[in-house]
Amino acid sequence: MGIAELQGYGYVALTSLLVLILYGYIYHLYTKKRDSDGHDYEEYSNMALRDDIDDAPVSAISDDKEK
């Protein structure tokens, strides 16, 4: 088996994997709607809308440290 053939198989396998991941991602986003921290994905738009330095972060880094 030459290098070109090997590359062919590698290409098909990797592309299928990436397609699976992408569709898995779409499925996950639209069925769960929330991430593992319990935030609705759409809440993250607020990162732009409420971005003053004293606005409360959508998910603060400090939450992690308290846990």
Partner: protein
């Protein structure tokens, strides 16, 4: 599972990098394995031709002229045989261009002469009525950079095994040797010998005098390069 990446910038960056490098690995890398071999009849550039190629690049001729004949009847009628990959084996960088404001030049050496180029570079509309190409009078006074051309020859011979001073097969079954100087003075002598052949066909007295005095104007080098494009 997916969400995790969004909060871990380092792994996110790794993920992005993997996804964007995939295409390059598949598309670009394989062709390097069997790198383009020269077709029969393709030979390395001589010192003067290479100096001329540098003049071509210095003035961005490639901004308006392509060196790539596509396999269509209209193009082969106009410019000659369509381009082959192996013909570019000694082109570093490639000069295919991306815009044809002027005509293709890949085989310009087949149908234009030294005399034509001399008049054309000095005043394009005098040769091609209606031409919008600017004139390049400074090429008649600026000196061609033979030192750099020699340095490049040495570099490509050393790093990429370009066959200088070796027999290269030609289309008619014969072989040809493109010489490279063993010292800088030698390289200058080789370039000057070539320049004298070109200058003999030219009319501009200043250029002829310069070459006779051992100096090579840019125009002579450029014409040597253009004549080599066949």
């Amino acid at each position: 599972m997916f969400h995790w990446l969004e909060k871990h910038p380092f792994f996110f960056a790794v993920g992005v990098f993997l996804v964007i490098s995939f295409a390059g690995l598949i598309e670009v890398v394989p062709s390097f394995a069997d790198k383009s071999r020269p077709v029969i009849g393709t030979k390395p550039y001589s010192t003067l031709e290479l100096a001329g190629r540098h003049v071509y690049i210095k003035n961005s001729c490639n901004a308006c002229h392509s060196q790539l004949i596509r396999p269509f009847k209209s193009e082969t009628d106009r410019y000659g045989h369509y381009s082959l990959s192996g013909e570019y084996a000694y082109d570093r960088p490639f000069l295919w261009g991306s815009k044809r404001t002027g005509p293709d030049l890949h085989r310009v050496g087949n149908y234009r002469t030294t005399d034509w180029h001399e008049n054309h570079m000095l005043n394009p509309p005098s040769v091609v009525a209606g031409s919008i190409m600017p004139a390049y009078p400074w090429m008649f006074t600026n000196k061609a950079n033979v030192d750099t051309a020699y340095a490049e020859q040495l570099t490509i011979a050393q790093f990429f095994s370009v066959p200088y001073n070796k027999a290269v097969p030609m289309k008619d079954g014969s072989t040809k040797v493109v010489k490279m100087g063993s010292t800088l003075a030698d390289a200058h002598a080789l370039a000057l010998a070539e320049a004298k052949v070109i200058a003999a066909d030219m009319k501009n007295q200043d250029v002829k005098d310069a070459v006779a005095a051992g100096n090579i104007p840019e125009i002579v080098a450029l014409i040597a390069y253009l004549n080599s494009l066949k």
